[in-house]
């Protein structure tokens, strides 16, 4: 009997060993597929561009150079875009948090009269909207076209984030807490600011990350609503460099053009790194809050 048990467990563990080999093999492959392109961009940004196009850059920089970054420093429009994007991200995240978190808290309260109706008012906009042209003319009517505020105010309500936060408040704030506070004469606003908010750092951090990433990467709103050069966010500037190759315009011909082309190619790698690294750096600070509670909130809603 005991021999049979041992035999059985051996057979099971053999299947598990095969399983593990396949599992770690596939995961290693996935790791490589995602990490290598990112790594390649980093090393290419420090390499001589002709080495890159000759296919000599594989695992480390070839003929190390900082020319791409130096060229970038000379590109004034990038730094203007950078500054604008930082402003849009900071102000936009602040506004987004105020608007969405406070509404989410109210919606999480079961004793809110008209809760269903108000929830519908919000959710409906996720599935139906006026569309591009009517929204464009509304923005013009409010005199927000081509202003700083169009990037941070009109589209700051993000219903999906609101629902995530609502579910978090609903499931993680103990009901007795509110009862006790109300008996002590604590009003709704005071309860929200001095009890509910401090207890909800996790959801606030996660939603701040969502909004900040969306702001930093936003492109469409600027494309439609921003005309002035001095209001353009980073992504619009980067698009001109990476996709429409605008840095090559007016480069002349012959040797000068070839040199300009060489530098433009090199600068592309540098641009990718300079625009992406700052926002990626936010993730580790928020990572610890990505606990189950917050994420599950998204689907229960």
């Amino acid at each position: 009997m005991s021999a049979q048990t041992i035999h059985k467990s051996q057979k099971v563990s053999k299947a598990d060993v095969v399983f593990n080999i396949i599992l770690y093999g596939i995961c290693g492959l996935i790791l490589l597929l995602i990490a290598y392109p990112l790594y390649f961009i980093i090393i290419a940004s420090f390499s001589n561009p002709s080495e890159v196009s000759n296919g000599n850059v594989w695992f480390w920089p070839s003929q190390f150079t900082l020319d791409g970054y130096k060229e970038l420093l000379r590109h004034g429009s990038i730094w203007m875009g950078y500054w604008n994007t930082i402003l849009y991200t900071v102000v936009g995240t602040a506004i987004g948090l105020i608007v969405n978190i406070s509404a989410a808290y109210s919606l999480s309260r079961r004793d809110l009269v008209g809760r269903k109706l108000i929830t519908f008012y919000f959710i409906f906009t996720m599935f139906f909207n006026g569309g591009l042209i009517p929204t464009y003319f509304t923005i013009r009517d409010f005199h927000l076209y081509d202003t700083f505020w169009v990037m941070v105010l009109p589209f700051s309500v993000m219903v999906y984030n609101m629902i995530v936060a609502r579910t978090f408040f609903d499931s993680s704030l103990p009901k007795d807490l509110l009862d006790a506070a109300q008996i002590d004469g604590c009003g709704n606003l005071r309860f929200f600011f001095s009890i509910a908010l401090p207890l909800s750092k996790a959801v606030i951090a996660v939603i701040a990350l969502y909004i900040a990433v969306a702001q930093w990467n936003s492109y469409f709103n600027a494309l439609v609503y921003i005309r002035s050069e001095n209001l353009k966010p980073l992504q619009l500037v980067v698009r001109n460099i990476l996709i429409t190759n605008q840095s090559l315009v007016g480069a002349g011909d012959g040797m000068a053009a070839q040199e300009a082309m060489r530098l433009a190619n090199l600068m592309k790698y540098a641009v990718i790194i300079v625009t992406t690294v700052p926002i990626m750096c936010m993730y580790p600070f928020v990572q610890k809050y990505f606990s189950q509670g917050v994420m599950i909130g998204a689907i229960k809603g």
């Binding site: 059985k8 099971v12 598990d16 599992l23 596939i26 790791l31 995602i34 990490a35 392109p37 961009i41 196009s53 296919g55 105020i98 608007v99 509404a103 808290y105 109210s106 309260r109 004793d111 809110l112 009269v113 108000i118 919000f122 906009t125 139906f128 909207n129 006026g130 569309g131 591009l132 042209i133 009517p134 929204t135 464009y136 003319f137 509304t138 409010f142 009109p154 309500v157 606003l189 990433v213 990467n217 492109y219 469409f220 439609v224 992504q235 980067v238 698009r239 990476l242 996709i243 592309k268 790698y269 641009v271 990718i272 926002i279 993730y283 990505f290 606990s291 189950q292 994420m295 599950i296």
Partner: protein
């Protein structure tokens, strides 16, 4: 009590009156909550509900100088113009096919990734795998398309390098090839977002009761059997909700990536409704036509969402609302 018995109508009236009174008291008592709601309600009213009023320009011959009310009513003329144009069929087909392709290809990968991550016991490796798969999510669409242009360039980048090593003489320019457009679009999306989208499934798997695994192990279930019979069924409700949400958005294809990937060589495949709406509206200023195409798209999308949601309600009891 006696009054109520004599006059049942009066009792009913006092019933709704009482309800109204209670509601009034509730609003009065919780005025702070309404104050907290106010900014979001006002912003949505101004920038989501007011434009819905403007949707009527789809039925008018709108010019900004005359305003919405001043522009002549033309009924369905704009819709007829769109459906009679040679592009309309192509546009709808491009939109639906690209959307369905992304939906079908993009849906299983986060689930598979989550199931695998959940099986890994080496903590360090698990962390590295998770962080690396999340990272591409933070890349903006603009930069992502830029990366694709660089890395898939036949003369530069990884693709060019590999082609040379393999001895391919004239590698095709993938980004300029119309037939490759949809594949590049969909698989680069999987590359970028599968990791991030798996977070929600990983979180769901963390809630599986460990005693289920113990019981299964005692019964001699192998790892793969435990995964198949415990983890997979556990993820199904989450997967269904996310599938409904995505299926309900089939016509709502993101504008940015398609627009950025467009070039003169691939427009026959890459022109979708959202890019068309942008071009005829914002670039050639045919406001009413653009609004009509947009409205058509929104309505189809809305109907699809209701259908998919109703269908899943009937099948099981998973529903969005």
């Amino acid at each position: 009590m006696r009054v109520m018995a004599e006059n049942p109508m009066g009792r009913q009236r006092s019933g709704w009156r009482y309800k109204l009174y209670r509601a009034g008291r509730g609003i009065q008592r919780n005025w702070g909550l309404y104050l907290l709601l106010l900014p979001a309600v006002v912003l949505l009213f101004c920038f989501n509900y007011l434009p819905m009023y403007g949707v009527q320009i789809a039925f008018r011959d709108f010019s900004p100088s005359q305003g919405i009310q001043g522009s002549p009513w033309v009924g369905p003329a704009n819709f007829q113009k769109f459906f009679n144009s040679f592009q309309s069929k192509n546009l709808i087909w491009n939109t639906v096919s690209l959307s369905l392709y992304s939906l079908i290809a993009g849906f299983p990968f986060p689930i598979i990734l989550a199931l695998m991550v959940n099986q890994i016991r080496v903590k360090r490796f698990k962390q590295v795998l998770q962080v690396v798969t999340y990272l591409p999510h933070f890349i903006s669409t603009v930069v992502m398309v830029g990366i694709m242009l660089i890395l898939l360039s036949p003369s530069n980048g990884i693709y060019g390098n590999l082609a040379r090593v393999l001895g391919v003489q004239n590698p095709v320019n993938i980004m300029g090839e119309a037939s490759a457009f949809q594949h590049v679009y969909v698989w680069s999306d999987v590359w970028q977002h599968a990791g991030w989208d798996s977070i929600i499934y990983i979180a769901a798997l963390a809630a599986v009761d460990p005693s289920l695994y113990e019981a299964a192990t005692v019964d001699g279930a192998s790892k793969i059997q435990r995964l198949w019979h415990i983890d997979v069924p556990f993820l199904i409700p989450t997967a269904v909700i996310l599938l409904i949400m995505r299926a309900g958005n089939v016509m709502n294809l993101g504008f940015e990536k398609v627009y950025l990937m467009q070039n003169p060589l691939n427009t026959s495949i890459s022109e979708v409704i959202s890019t068309y709406v942008y071009k005829i509206g914002m670039i050639s200023n045919q406001y009413s036509l653009s609004a009509a195409v947009n409205l058509f798209n929104t309505v189809i999308n809305f109907v699809l969402l209701l259908l998919v949601n109703g269908f899943s309600k009937k099948l099981g009891d998973t529903s969005l609302w």
